[in-house]
Symmetry: D2
Subunit: 351 residues, 4 copies
Amino acid sequence: MNAPHPHLAARQRLYDEMSPLNLTPLWEVLHSLVPPQPATPCVPALWKYDEVRPFLMRAGEAITAEEAVRRVLILENPALRGQSAVTQSLYAGLQLILPGEVAPSHRHTQSALRFIVEGSGAYTAVDGERATMHPGDFIITPSWTWHDHGNDADVPVVWLDGLDIPIIRFFDAGFAQNDVSKSQQVTRAEGTSMARYGHNMAPVRHDAPFGATSPIFSYPYERSREALERLERDAPVDDWDGVKLRYLNPLTGGSPMPTMATFMQRLPAGFSGKPWRQTDGAVYSVVEGEGEVVIERQGVATRFAFAPRDHFVVPSWHTARFSSKQGCVLFSYSDRPVHQALGIHQEERLS
Amino acid sequence: MNAPHPHLAARQRLYDEMSPLNLTPLWEVLHSLVPPQPATPCVPALWKYDEVRPFLMRAGEAITAEEAVRRVLILENPALRGQSAVTQSLYAGLQLILPGEVAPSHRHTQSALRFIVEGSGAYTAVDGERATMHPGDFIITPSWTWHDHGNDADVPVVWLDGLDIPIIRFFDAGFAQNDVSKSQQVTRAEGTSMARYGHNMAPVRHDAPFGATSPIFSYPYERSREALERLERDAPVDDWDGVKLRYLNPLTGGSPMPTMATFMQRLPAGFSGKPWRQTDGAVYSVVEGEGEVVIERQGVATRFAFAPRDHFVVPSWHTARFSSKQGCVLFSYSDRPVHQALGIHQEERLS
Amino acid sequence: MNAPHPHLAARQRLYDEMSPLNLTPLWEVLHSLVPPQPATPCVPALWKYDEVRPFLMRAGEAITAEEAVRRVLILENPALRGQSAVTQSLYAGLQLILPGEVAPSHRHTQSALRFIVEGSGAYTAVDGERATMHPGDFIITPSWTWHDHGNDADVPVVWLDGLDIPIIRFFDAGFAQNDVSKSQQVTRAEGTSMARYGHNMAPVRHDAPFGATSPIFSYPYERSREALERLERDAPVDDWDGVKLRYLNPLTGGSPMPTMATFMQRLPAGFSGKPWRQTDGAVYSVVEGEGEVVIERQGVATRFAFAPRDHFVVPSWHTARFSSKQGCVLFSYSDRPVHQALGIHQEERLS
Amino acid sequence: MNAPHPHLAARQRLYDEMSPLNLTPLWEVLHSLVPPQPATPCVPALWKYDEVRPFLMRAGEAITAEEAVRRVLILENPALRGQSAVTQSLYAGLQLILPGEVAPSHRHTQSALRFIVEGSGAYTAVDGERATMHPGDFIITPSWTWHDHGNDADVPVVWLDGLDIPIIRFFDAGFAQNDVSKSQQVTRAEGTSMARYGHNMAPVRHDAPFGATSPIFSYPYERSREALERLERDAPVDDWDGVKLRYLNPLTGGSPMPTMATFMQRLPAGFSGKPWRQTDGAVYSVVEGEGEVVIERQGVATRFAFAPRDHFVVPSWHTARFSSKQGCVLFSYSDRPVHQALGIHQEERLS
């Protein structure tokens, strides 16, 4: 074996000698720091509900909601095991709450979304108002608001939790507090927030109770579905997205939370979509119907067939293409508002 | 009679001599140019619907909608006769369209609101989509969009027109065009705009079709009323306003039009409100119920008892106080967004 | 003479009978209310400084600054005599302050700009800080801030006052107060505001002392001129505007005041500009050099030759075309930010 | 040794069995995911320039600027070795360019700031315009703009590079391209951008050439220093910050780049500051003078004495306290704009 070239050896000596000063040469890593295009470590992944549900129910036996504080199975990206992350920046989990249980009140900097997957009749209480859950409802816990969950019904209720936990951790900006009481006091009738802000009107004098987060904290599926069906019937269907709507904060027109955007889309029966990619990785929850998605990057394609209550992730800058024979409805969320605020959002629609 | 003081005479000579150069002394008018508080020339006024309606019907006989282009009786402020203005900055009129008639398609810089007063089944078409009218609905014609009206029903339909005509005239910024055809072509099913933007969601890719104006151009009374009733039951009632909501542009959270804000409020039965005043003069349309308003300025009070379909105006910086024995619903509009954009909005709640 | 057509007579009866109810028919005035394009009543006008100055000096003898409060000759648009307006929405005047005089402290809702025309060494005090005046400086009095003027120098000082008086009057939103003392107390060294906000930096904790108005209240000519000269030399000259910069509020990037934009432009020697028009009427003050402007509307052209310290007005939607043999510098202001906030700004560059 | 409690064993079995499905229990990690307050892994660190400089010069011998593309020694946080990060979200490095060298043209999504540490006469070219470097100047390379560096002087030039590399990597949104030519073509005279945007004015028609990034890409030290000195003399000195200004984007009033804020502050002679903490970790470059900072967290204090050209980092939510006997000037940067855009910025001033 030959000795390394003398100047390489000199460089290595330099590296070794300056290392104790916490100095390191950029030129050895420049390419990976500034890649020609996004090179996420994340991979596509699918969680079939019929495989996940038994574990959820076993978790229901293994620990109470109260002991767990939140009884959640985290959906970890296979390439990010141990990081509690579904993409580098997002967290996803499935939470179970059994009849009679309570998940105690606390608050934290992290914003949370709940998308109801199975069961009706549980509730989330936010800032003194309860929202009763039904499958397909999208519920928000704004940053730094007290919240607790409970189940007054007689069936288990499961929902998808989407949080910005990795973002808050990355920026070292998380605070949290536990409430003195297990369940917060109810101070407003259910539906008050929707009446105040959900009818394309707003109180003259109660603007923005949750700052940059939407004052509507429950968007019922009934209304979202009605909009999608109407548009499927009456308006052109997009070749890439089918009929896709974003949830909005009616006080700003922006995303419901500063860190996460949420979407609901309907792929009509027989839909065979064109491929697209975007910098924001997205997590999907299948609401109704079946379909499939082909996710591709650098020549490697993954095909997921999905059914109701399944969950999957499309990582950043992976090409995705949807199709559905019978038609289906998909909920999804991503960190797009962060990409947009930082001026780094890119998307591409291919043909 | 004595001669004027010599220096007054000198001043007058100065004024006279410089007048041909279009010069005039500020100090003679400073106080009126910069008054200690708003000194609007407008006065409070009431239009009782049972007095106005016969004239509307006679107008229906005197001229066709098509010949008139818009068959409207302008509500002129008694202190601004001849200016087609209900306040210095706002226009109000009552428009009648008879069964089978059409008010031909045109467009203009001026923004318009329509608030339906009597009759169902007429329509406004805006940018290719029709909105069927029902009493209490609030409909927008965004600036510079083609619009026409028609009545396919078998009853006369009357609505309040609120426009920013004086504002556009004051700023010398008005453009207008007549359409080549009497009625514009319908290109979208009725309800498409509401489905796209009215459910606290928005299309991922069709933002802001009307610029700064709300993409929802019809806000049905059914939904506004439901919100008011809910809040009257479940939330605290404001001592000045009762339950008062502002209509919003869901893409911005701001007013539906850049020049005009719109409001709907419910005074509960037995409401006896506290007095308030604001710089934006407001026009009211009584939707349901009866009540009274006392409007006061510099010790002179005017008392209006109002009933459904009556209209009245509360001028700038006049103190107003509402009361209602049986409860009532009021629609109103003002130029508040302009005051806010210019940083000159003031309001005062008195006790 | 024949009788009028019976239905015209019927209409007239209708008009007459409903008039006491403050009702009037739209169709008789629709065309003038909604004109095909802006039809301002304003006309172009020029005030030659050598004609105006003698009257200013006579005003200096006829009344003291203190008695006058503000010793100003208003530049009235010839078509708007008696309205204290140079366009429908703007006020312009030339203010004189003699050595030793003080114009006492007051404040008002109206925003004011001062553009120094003749003489150095007078001052404006705003919110506790003085700004010494030099020809070409642009100074702001933000809405509702205490301000007074004085002349500690030994020469008369004259400046252009530009205010939004007609706007505040139109919207009925003006408030005013006189200070208890003639001159406000100085609480900050001159130049503090410029040091805080004028170097493309801002204090971490003193944002927006004047709300939507620029925290820099004096923009010295020295710096504006330097920028113009640099750009004239190094960057392409615009065929319509020469080199034209807008003053900005460094905390927003918008206009220095919510109601008025200000501009300074340099026409290079030999400039012969192309024609343009815009909805915002503009008032010009000639800083240096000579030139001419041709202003045209509906086939009627007006030609103004201008020299330093002259003032002229280009009304809304009049076509204007500049030229200058020797080169010149022009300051101007208009109500463009209002047009932009209301979504009604239009401009056209002709070739 | 005892067997674990049966239900713990059952839980472990559950964890083991669901792990292949990429499921993991939240309740085992909840506390660390949602900490009571920020628990950054970063530690305070100091790089003394007299220790670092010899390695920089050796790097100058070991590799050419062209071969290195960028000859930079990365300042790595001691607790984040191998991650090319000075805080979790920020990158810092010291770049050397020797007389006659060129660092070739490329562009990338990442935003960069350059703060000149040693030597005059090198340049950065951005979008066709060069900026000559002097110590204390702050220069920007906006996201996705072509840029190259060169040294036409006869002394080595060293600057601090601050980039958002970890942020772009975390959000998987980085793109990069190399230019076809080594140095981009110069298309504008040096100083054109400053003339256009740096005098509290802006071109009427060239707004926002770099989107959300400041159109001024060079902020000379001469002007920043003048502002600081003026304020130290004439305005109150803050007990925590001394005199501290933030650089701003004159078209928005916000930070110069969407991802990074920059600051310059002067601690007067004898300054002994009060302690503060904030969620955004910050990197400091000492411009002039000497001083010390005490950085503390959970009872552990680190004391750094600093001199000109030293660099140090204050991590998130560490308490910091400055003092300076002779007075000093500090430049710093952080990711505060991201914290603010996401609604997660917190700061605390202690006494």
